[in-house]
């Protein structure tokens, strides 16, 4: 399992001396809920959806982090905040040491170049009237990059080669409808790479693709980040994909990260009851491998009404009385890197346990 071996191989000292590529601290994103005219007349309080409610994580160069969770857990809002497509209410997002949280739209331009997004559906993210050449050239024109025509052409060819569409010349004049789903997603990735970004945020990059080509696109992302300084944040609901391709996994529930750690640790030794349940329901390829799934009832609760105490307690199979009042923080579970937010977590180091907390 190469994805995890690489984490160890990545020199920790190099990672520590430089600022992390991406550092997100206490990120909060809310959306106002429309009251409607009746609500306004009745003077109902204004309410907000707490889409992201205090999320912190960081990413090193050459690393791939998977944000996993069910719909409504806040993973996409987190990604959109990183790209400043939405403005966070509070918290701090730093890219390469630069705080981008409060940058004006003008100042953001340079950051936008450094952070590129790959969308779920390459059938929608590519303009059907653009040939491949135009689709990959467009970002350079928008950002006023790439120099003259000849230089831009060179960059287009290089980007196509990086996404393994070879020979690139064969693809230049094609339209999206002439390409397969996998090829389209590669074009979308090429259009992101042409600006030479430091960070790719990929939102469910393969879920619309056929099984036979998914692995190819995932391996491409994997290869890109291993080849250079590129970091990848992959948003996915598919834990198997996260387990196989990411170095680290962060499991989100109702706007919080509830467990985080190296992919192998999280998958093989999950500590949060939510992660345990989520992993237990992932269908396995081997029919003999039918463990009893731990199916949680109901649906994820509404982020308008976040439960008091631990936000998972109404669905938790291991709920205790104290969970109704204690809102647990992430703390080290099986190693310093592997953290979970649950009162049941035995702290990894006794001395690391804050006094007075039980």
């Amino acid at each position: 399992m190469s994805g995890v071996v690489a984490t160890g191989a990545l020199s920790p000292s190099a990672g520590e001396t430089r600022a992390p590529l991406l550092d997100v601290r206490d990120l909060v994103v809310t959306y106002p809920v429309r009251r409607g005219i009746v609500g306004a007349l009745r003077r109902e309080p204004r309410r907000a959806v707490h889409a992201v409610d205090g999320v912190s994580f960081s990413l090193r160069r050459g690393e791939m982090l998977a944000l996993v969770g069910e719909s409504g857990c806040g993973k996409t809002s987190t990604a959109q905040a990183i790209l400043r497509m939405i403005d966070p209410v509070s918290g701090r997002i730093a890219v390469d040491g630069l705080d981008i949280t409060r940058l004006s739209h003008r100042e953001l331009r340079r950051t936008r170049r450094a952070v590129q997004m790959i969308y779920q559906d390459p059938y929608e993210s590519l303009d059907p009237r653009f040939r491949v050449r135009q689709a990959v050239e467009e970002p350079m024109l928008i950002h006023g990059l790439g120099g003259d025509r000849r230089e831009r052409h060179r960059r287009i060819m290089e980007a196509l080669a990086r996404v393994e569409l070879t020979p690139p010349a064969m693809y230049l004049d094609r339209f999206p409808h002439e390409l397969s789903g996998g090829q389209r997603q590669r074009i979308a990735i090429a259009a992101g790479l042409v600006l030479d970004p430091a960070l790719l945020v990929a939102d469910e990059p393969v879920s619309m693709l056929d099984v036979s080509v998914r692995a190819g696109v995932l391996r491409l992302l994997d290869g890109l980040r291993r080849a250079g300084d590129l970091g990848v944040v992959m948003i996915t609901h598919d834990l198997s994909t996260a387990a196989r391709f990411a170095d680290r996994i962060a499991v989100m529930y109702l706007g919080r990260i509830v467990e985080e750690g190296r992919a192998t640790e999280v998958v093989r030794d999950p500590r949060h009851p939510y992660t345990q349940a989520l992993l237990s329901v992932v269908p396995k390829r081997d029919p003999r491998d039918r463990a009893t799934p731990q199916i949680l009832g109901g649906e994820p609760p509404n982020p308008i009404d976040v439960p008091r105490g631990c936000r998972f307690h109404p669905r938790c199979p291991a709920v205790q009385d104290r969970c109704r009042s204690i809102d647990p923080e992430l703390r080290s579970a099986t190693s310093i890197e592997h953290r979970a937010a649950c009162v049941l977590v035995e702290p990894w180091m006794e001395s690391a346990r804050p006094r007075g907390e039980r």
């Binding site: 391709f245 396995k284 390829r285």
Partner: protein, 326 residues
């Protein structure tokens, strides 16, 4: 006992310029009473077309040949009167994306009652009472039947669609990607429900999906489709542990597993066009073990060692060179 028999089913769609797309190319499949069978393949392989043909729901631009028998009686015919008495009463279907299958301006209860009245299995108060029972069976409070589909979450809509499919007490349930748009936890709920209902009601289930692990979890047996035909069929365990067609083996290898540590490998190339005749094996250009015979001769489904069947010339080679091994 064989309940549903599909024999040499072909479907062609008319394309512009008098061309035709041969979407289903001779599919044969037997389903026993109470059996759960998966129909697996990638987009465009003909799996959805196959089950729409079984229900007689293909558009008029399609022409169909072959035979579909239910308890021995032929139900495939261009005459609507032949298929209609069986549709929903004997064979019902759950579609992908329940929001599109449900009518947004009718209450959920009314939509469960509708097929009963249409097919004459129950009426009025009796039908409404039955609708309440069905809702309870799929895990929805009967009182919620008065609500509209948009008031339901995705998982509840899929449950309601399931109640609708069960309204006339069918023998066979066809489910087309019933959990594709759903979250993992909701998917687990629906799959568990589907399996339990099939068991409790003695239903035969044909589960159509691109997702091998889903089939591995729910079905005893599966048929793998490629380019309009079944290329391998057999017990799920046999397919996973000793596949006899390279496509089956490569599909499993392309599917990441939570705890697996082999490389996840994509399948190079793309499926053949179905608007032209196919010479030789349709998979040969993507196959890692193709040899000269695959160029000339299209393999047919044949019994293989270990049960089931596969359409691959490698199975004719001496032992040790089987299609499953690399």
């Amino acid at each position: 006992m064989t309940l549903l028999e599909v024999r040499d089913l072909h479907v062609w769609f008319d394309l512009s310029g008098s061309r035709q797309l041969h979407a289903v190319q001779g599919v044969s499949l037997d389903v026993d009473a109470g059996e759960r069978v998966g129909l697996v393949g990638e987009s465009g392989c003909g799996k959805s077309t196959t089950i729409l043909a079984i229900l007689g729901l293909l558009p008029s631009s399609a022409s169909v040949a072959g035979e579909v028998r239910l308890e021995g009686a032929s139900i495939l015919s261009p005459e609507e009167e032949v298929a209609r008495p069986h549709r929903w009463r004997d064979i019902a279907m759950v579609f992908q994306g329940a929001m599109n299958a449900l009518n947004p301006v009718k209450t959920v209860e009314a939509q469960i009652v509708e097929p009963m009245e249409l097919h004459g299995t129950a009426e009025g108060a009796a039908a409404r009472k039955r609708a309440g029972e069905l809702l309870e069976m799929v895990g929805i409070a009967p009182s919620a039947g008065a609500r509209f589909p948009h008031e339901f979450s995705g998982g509840m809509r899929q449950r309601a669609a399931l109640a609708m499919a069960l309204a006339c007490d069918p023998k066979v349930l066809l489910a087309d990607e019933p959990t594709t748009a759903l979250d993992v936890m909701v998917q687990a709920q629906i799959l568990e429900l589907l399996e339990r209902l099939a068991r409790d009601l003695g239903l035969s289930l044909i589960l159509v999906t691109h997702d091998l692990p889903v089939v591995a979890q729910v079905c005893e047996r599966a048929a793998v489709m490629y380019a309009g035909e079944i290329v391998e069929e057999g017990a799920m365990e046999r397919l996973f542990h000793s596949p006899r067609h390279p496509y089956t083996r490569m599909l499993f290898a392309a599917t990441p597993d939570l705890y697996g540590d082999e490389d996840v490998l994509s399948i190079p190339g793309s499926p053949p066009r179905l608007d032209r005749g196919i010479v030789g094996c349709p998979f040969r250009s993507r196959c890692d073990r193709a040899f000269d015979r695959c160029e000339r001769e299209r393999p047919v489904l044949r019994w293989v060692e270990g049960g089931g069947s596969a359409a691959c010339h490698l199975n004719d080679l001496p032992a040790g060179a089987s299609a499953g091994s690399t």
